[in-house]
Symmetry: C2
Subunit: 307 residues, 2 copies
């Protein structure tokens, strides 16, 4: 399958909508209940979240929600909130005490552009604000949907999801014995998979998906997330720093736990392709027909991207 124009148009549209939302949400005026938004902290939060990335997670929220007829502000605000969580995780992961990276999306990382304390607080601020945005009545009139989104986002991002995955990843770097295949898969499902799965789950929550369609979409999200991580590892192994906008080759250097290290490049590629097919099959199981084509394209795009 080749990536078609319609997919690229929708990916660009989601990125633009997300940028617009983030820019508006991260304005200087305090909201009700806030006292003041300190200029430098706000600047760091904007630096960390605006003007960068493919906005894949927002795209997945928006297009998943669209499958169930939910469009507009609800999906766009949820998408922006999820992107805040993703961006906070990048800011904290890049810190000297964590992955110690100087470059992100072709620019200095937040703690290099500002300072370490500001980067920690900007990350904390983005994470906190994400829950504010989702819980705000402006996101959805139905408080049950807002509370469900908060709960699902917290579970995906927390100690049993993304934060826990990062903790396992750091532990693995200094572990005496290499991780097993199962351990690597679980680590990756937590570190990157959980937030990608939340993206499609959020669409199902916003759109009031049937349980069957929702769980098929969850399976799609899980397969896509796993394929995404393998593609990421392949890019790190093969890519160059300029094209990636972040330093390449660092997995091997740091003894990071990846499927490539365990199985080799060819087996990793085969597994990636298998997962893309599994993602496409899960879409068929939603019984939503031709409308899911755009998400099938996303699975291919994620697996075959060059940055």
């Amino acid at each position: 399958m080749t990536i078609d124009e319609e997919f690229r148009r929708r990916l660009d549209a989601a990125a633009e909508a997300t940028e617009t939302q983030l820019d508006a949400l991260l304005g200087a005026a305090p909201l009700a209940g806030e006292i003041r938004r300190p200029a430098r902290l706000l600047e760091a939060m904007r630096y960390a979240s605006l003007g960068g990335g493919k906005r894949l997670r927002p795209f997945l929220v928006i297009e998943s929600a669209r499958l169930f007829g939910a469009t507009g502000e609800s999906a766009q605000r949820t998408a922006a909130a999820l992107e805040m969580v993703h961006c906070y995780s990048l800011v904290h992961d890049d810190l000297p005490a964590m992955d110690d990276d100087d470059l992100r999306r072709g620019r200095p990382t937040a703690h290099k552009a500002f300072d370490e304390a500001t980067a920690i607080l900007a990350g904390d601020g983005l994470l906190t604000y994400a829950f504010d945005v989702v819980a705000d009545p402006a996101t959805h009139a139905d408080a049950g949907i807002r509370a469900n989104l908060v709960l699902a986002l917290a579970r995906a991002a927390g100690l049993g999801g993304m934060v826990g995955g990062q903790a396992l990843d750091l532990e693995a770097e200094t572990a005496k014995t290499p991780l097993t295949l199962d351990e690597i898969l679980r680590l990756q499902a937590m570190k990157t998979g959980a937030l990608l799965r939340f993206a499609v789950d959020a669409g199902a929550i916003l759109g009031g998906a049937s349980p069957d369609a929702g769980s098929a979409l969850t399976r799609y999200g899980e397969a896509l997330g796993a394929a995404f991580q393998i593609a990421d590892d392949i890019l790190d192994a093969e890519g160059d720093t300029a094209a990636l906008g972040k330093r390449a080759g660092k997995d091997a250097e740091r003894n990071k736990a990846t499927l490539i290290g365990l199985l080799g490049l060819d087996a990793a590629r085969a597994r990636r392709d298998f997962l893309v097919q599994a993602a496409v099959d899960a879409l068929a199981a939603t019984r939503l027909g031709e409308a899911t084509h755009i998400l099938a394209q996303a699975a291919h795009f994620v697996a075959l991207r060059s940055n």
Copy 2:
């Protein structure tokens, strides 16, 4: 007014209920939607939140909710969630890039007991989990109340509240000109006041307070928060490290912006006493009668504590 036995009994009861909730919430078994809870990260989150502190914020949630007839699990879970946010803020504030403290509640700080990366992630995990706990149907059957609690907590803890206050506090340390009185008051209202105000607001939200009673209680929370911060500054200026369980005298050493630095000790004490009276007056304005006695006691306790 002297601090009576009933107040001490309720404070202890709230602390015990909070400890029980935190211990149960931070169990090893993953919840639905979580993949795994990594042992070391969980241990750090437990270290940072269990077995310490007066649990003043949980007490305020529980006793404010009780004023409106809301007792039991709803208030206790909300109290535990708020304490998680408070504990995360201590973990991050203690980091080398921030206040660089080695001692907290008489024990090594989290980054000393574990390591810096684990401390950052444990803080992130506690903050995220707080929103999970509040949004969970186990906290309240009414999703509107859960969503309101999430929103109020995020506003209090975020860039326009606690996180913003910490950013302003760090900026003030290196500022060329000292902060004005108004700037110090605003900084403190954000850094410590916002979360204390949320504590009583949460009680009002849980108990369905009338707008008048709710806003009077908010004024109580604001006055109590301001008195709390002055008492904290006085303790730092006069206290000794052993009694405090954290290093004393560091405000002056670091050129921290405090009222004592600007007005002197006597004026700071007078202001603290004025604020305690303002808090007590606000309680009278709730028109909830004798039931508010316990919160009046809390205002005195906060102002006169020795650690």
